[in-house]
Symmetry: C2
Subunit: 170 residues, 2 copies
């Protein structure tokens, strides 16, 4: 993974959308939202799944499946790839986590609750990832799709560039 060799952000002041915030609080509240939603919808937020979500919220950056797997092993869970992939599949399917195709990595959803089509800004220098919202089906892409009769079900929107922090440093 690309982001693994970097020092982890300080416990209580990480980046979300490239901005400082009360991290401990946001992890906790996101977990609570997830638990509530699972209860409501009869989804099973099992220990592995919960742990993976917690790790991703804690880290607040994109993690590869294998780095997640390493941490699961450390916590006493199974240590083979399917363990991580299955938990990630569940979390992605239910919108708690998004996959960043460009990085083959995963981030916790920054806007839990609402169904949405996410868009990401990925810093080429430090691998930070910020989530925002997009409605690509409404723009040029949507027009093109309607024109040819293509039915959009899902979109991947990822912008690669340089985050404000790295721009500043340079």
């Amino acid at each position: 993974m690309t982001s693994e060799m970097r020092p982890a952000p300080a416990e209580d002041s990480a980046l979300v959308g490239f901005q400082k915030h009360d991290h401990a609080h946001c992890v906790e509240s996101s977990l609570t939202v997830a638990e509530t939603r699972c209860k409501e919808e009869g989804l099973r937020l099992t220990p592995v799944r919960r742990k993976v979500l917690e790790m991703l919220l804690q880290e607040h950056r994109a993690l590869g499946a294998y780095s997640i797997l390493d941490r699961l092993r450390d916590e006493g869970f199974g240590s083979q790839p399917p363990v991580a992939y299955r938990a990630l599949d569940f979390l992605v399917e239910n919108g708690f986590v998004h996959k960043i195709e460009r990085l083959n990595a995963f981030v916790a959803c920054a806007h839990p609750g609402a169904t949405h089509s996410p868009a990401f800004m990925i810093c080429r220098k430090c691998d930070a990832v910020a989530e925002t919202h997009s409605t690509p089906a409404k723009g040029e892409l949507g027009a093109a799709a309607r024109a040819v009769g293509f039915e959009i079900e899902r979109t991947v929107v990822e912008a690669e560039g340089v985050c404000p922090d790295c721009t500043e440093k340079a």
Copy 2:
């Protein structure tokens, strides 16, 4: 690769943008455009690179690096992964080919010549890929980026759904 087991489209009536067209002609003219541009810009369209581009134009769908490699081997080129990846790197860097992140696969550019930020429609059922144009930096994503000070350099826009052909069949 997902698309490999499917019968190849007939020589002279494949899909581009999910529509029929004079395929033999479009392959030839695209190759000519590429050759011209390389000459102009001092780029070296070597035999392997040319062959890979030709294959992708011919196929008119996303091909995985390894399926490209197989064909290169059959044509007497080197048979190790770097051979394919290096040719693809060159073609992608210079805009002759695009990578479809969602599929880990490659397609020939459908709008050679102009610099552009491509967007793709990917059929979940038959893996057909149509290229269109987008300007994501101008929409919501661009606004979000400006708001936080993120400098967009490149965007990945991929819509997954069902193509008109498959919709019809169903």
